[in-house]
Amino acid sequence: MSLASSEISTTGRQLPDRLKSPIQRFLASWELLLLGVAIAVFILNSFASPYFLDPWNLSDATFNFTEKALIAFAMAMLIISGEIDLSVASIIALASTAMGFAVQMGAETPVLILVGLGVGLACGAFNGFLVTGFGLPSIVVTIGTMSLFRGISYIVLGDKAYTGYPSDFAFFGQGYVWWVISFEFLLFAFMAVLFAVVLHRTNFGRAAYVIGNNPVGALFSGIRVPRVKFALFLLTGLMSGVAAICLTSRLGATRPSIAFGWELEVVTMVVLGGVNILGGSGSIPGVVIAAFVMGMVTFGFGLLNVPGIVMSIFIGLLLISVIALPRIAHRILARRKV
């Protein structure tokens, strides 16, 4: 009606758009700090082992994080919206088991892809339905479905394994697109761009931030909160299905213990990437850099023959110190001011 912006009376002063330029913001950002850590790890690795800088070794290193990162992109959006999905690794197990079962039934590769994606979507829908339909806390729901989904795999497989995947199925986990660039790495790069656009450049991505900062306020602003949350669970399930396809293809076999413990590594990657575990803030570029950091640390330790348990100790310490660092810095700065 009569409130078109052209008729607005100029009573107040006009505010500037930005207090700090995007460059200033970047210089003070978490992502930049993390990039520094990534570069430091890279340099340390290249000194620690003469084999590290070999292109094929570097290419191999990417397999340490690509599959987890695929899930981490969706998980980042979910955590930003204030929810979490701890069943992702179990979704991989169930999707992989379903694909293995389909192979026994004589399914070809296209059908296997559909089965993998379909199971992922179905699991995501189940989580999303329980959370948005009944208003249950997602941490409880997905701890439940974590046991449930993997439990089904154990019942179906017991101590057996599904093998005999068709040879063209191997491409998704073992194929190379060009020289040292694997299919998985290309998929990772593509998804990184796609998720960055969705989170940072669409109304849907904005809704995730709004809900994470203030779910009640989001509802009172006309955002269809349950719908957005359901879509995010669906997306996380789907990406777990994609990861299941890649991992199953790479291993060439399905055991019920497949991807065991990955949910914590995925969450670690997301949090290390600067996503607030309580929701409301974070970015995809941050998660991408965090994926590289974790992948390189794991690979570097592997080259040095460091046992796996030491690696997880290191990742744990890394996580705690990068989370604590900004707070400690803040406290020191505050003290100096007074």
Partner: protein
């Protein structure tokens, strides 16, 4: 409720006007990163007297309360009690020194009993070191009787109304034998009758010789119950003295540093055609048979006691809660509203009472708050267009005279009044037909209040239909063209502004008469 007034012994003589202060603060300063919250303030509290602490939001009132209760440590300055210098490193130290606070949102425990709430932290023990329940309940009963509260010490706190919770907090204050009682806006969310009871209680505490620090935004109650006043502005003490030696305009002037004429904007009511009609609106528990009409260019006031169901009706109109029966007509067309999203697309928007939870999205910048309900128009094919969002935010924040550093500033960093401006801006940006304002000036400072009132008048003049829910009688009388009074979930009466007096409003809301017009 205060039945046996004659039972009090050692009534403090009022001749103690020139007595020594029981508590004095001297040169207290407190800084936070980037803000000096308190700058060398002084405050004296006298036994048996009520000292009113007044100031706009952000003047430092809450900070001084936190300093007094040991939550914050002052950077500089001296606290002394009965002339002895003291410091309160923790909240417990403050309690032991005899300072207790009854907060705006009283900090009590819903799932504990009344007696447990009163004695938490200092419950009487048996000789085995366990809590002596019998003794505790008995003592609690004694304390509740002393303040004339008819509450069973055995019931759970969550089963009490807000007024009774305040009484429990007061009983708790008495249980630790506090000399100094801080009451932080104790009447903010109480009904008329409960407020009267609170005043009686303050008198009672005065008579027992307690020194009371009374924080309030309401001038009528300050002049009614306070003996002395202290005014804070921008973290500084700008005035103090006896209440009998100051006038209301003088106090306001001290608070804002300039004189604000509290006159409401003058407007010529010229309502146009009917926009909204509500018929037979019902809700299983909150309201029943609500019906009214609203015309273009009109401000319709909703008055009632807290809990009369006004906000619930508005939230149903906005699609947050579902009515069980009834219909809405917009421009003579039946409209179905099941979600806020549908309300917005019908041109109905709602500025909620609970700004922090329902209005502002803290953590997000101002411009994203403004553009939030308008994303459909600022975006293209689902993709954000930041330039459009900034343009929208620039236009509407300018119109509302928002005070902020830049549009990418977090809304949570703004004062209450400026947050409210952003929330109003975000709804105006959707170009609504009906705007519902629920307690639009609650908890915001006088300067912003006047700006919001002026702006409402402007909107109505431009043809917007405005519904204003308010519990402040001057605001209702000053702004509305028509007033609907609700009582216990029903419409009690409807008045034209011209034939309405404050007494009529109060009587109708309390159910004292059946005046209809």
């Amino acid at each position: 409720m205060l039945a046996n007034t004659q039972g009090i012994e050692n009534v403090h003589p009022h001749a103690a006007q020139d007595a020594k202060p029981v508590l004095s603060l001297n040169g207290i300063s407190k800084s936070f990163p980037g803000v000096k919250a308190l700058s060398e303030v002084a405050l004296d509290l006298f036994p048996g007297q009520v000292t009113a602490l007044v100031g706009e939001n952000g003047a430092g009132k809450s900070t001084i309360v936190k300093v007094l209760t040991g939550i914050y440590q002052p950077d500089e300055g001296q606290i002394s009690i009965n002339g002895k210098p003291l410091s309160f490193p923790t909240a417990q130290d403050a309690g032991e020194a005899g300072v207790t606070a009854i907060h705006q949102e009283t900090v009590l425990f819903d799932d504990l009993s009344v007696a447990e709430n009163i004695f938490i932290g200092h419950a009487p023990k048996t000789r085995f070191g366990l809590i002596d329940r019998k003794e505790m309940v008995g003592k609690a009963q004694e304390l509740l009787d002393r303040i004339g509260a008819q509450i069973d010490p055995g019931v759970l706190l969550k089963d009490l109304g807000i007024a009774n919770k305040h009484l429990v907090a007061i009983a708790r204050a008495l249980s630790i034998d506090a000399q100094i009682v801080i009451m932080d806006e104790p009447t903010a969310s109480l009904s008329h009758k409960e407020i009267e009871e609170t005043y009686e209680l303050v008198e009672r505490l005065k008579a027992e010789g307690k020194a009371i620090l009374f924080i309030s935004h309401k001038f009528d109650e300050i002049f009614r119950i306070a003996d002395r006043y202290t005014v804070f502005r921008d973290g500084q003490m700008v005035g103090a003295g006896k209440i009998t030696e100051v006038s209301e305009p003088e106090l306001v002037k001290m608070m804002v540093g300039r004189s604000v004429d509290q006159v409401y904007p003058r407007r010529e009511a010229d309502p146009g055609e009917e926009v909204l009609e509500v018929v037979g609106y019902c809700h299983p528990t909150e309201f029943e048979d609500i019906g009214f009409t609203l015309r273009k260019g009109e401000i319709l006031g909703f008055y009632g006691l807290v809990g009369a169901g006004r906000s619930e009706v508005m939230q149903a109109l906005f699609g947050v809660t579902k009515p069980s029966k009834g219909a809405i007509r917009i421009d003579d067309q039946i409209a179905v509203i099941r979600t806020p999203n549908e309300a917005i697309s019908h041109g109905i928007v709602y500025v909620p009472e609970d700004r922090g939870k329902q209005g502002a999205i803290k953590g997000l910048p101002i411009f994203q708050n403004v553009s939030l309900p308008s994303l459909k128009t600022t975006s293209k094919n689902g993709f954000l267009r930041l330039a459009e969002e900034f343009k929208l935010a620039r236009d509407y924040t300018q119109r509302l005279d928002l005070r902020a550093a830049a549009l990418d500033q977090d809304i949570g960093e703004l004062s209450g009044g400026n947050q409210q401006k952003v929330v109003i801006a975000k709804w105006l940006a959707t170009q609504p037909r009906v705007i519902i304002l629920d307690e639009p000036t609650k908890g915001i400072d006088i300067g912003s209040k006047a700006a919001v009132h002026e702006f409402m008048a402007e909107l109505a003049a431009e043809g917007l239909a405005v519904i204003m829910v308010s519990s402040e009688i001057p605001e209702i009388l000053g702004m509305s063209d028509r007033v609907i009074v609700m009582r216990e979930g029903r419409i009690a009466a409807e008045f034209e502004r011209d034939d309405l007096t404050p007494e009529q409003l109060v009587r109708t809301a309390a159910g004292l008469s059946e005046v209809t017009s």
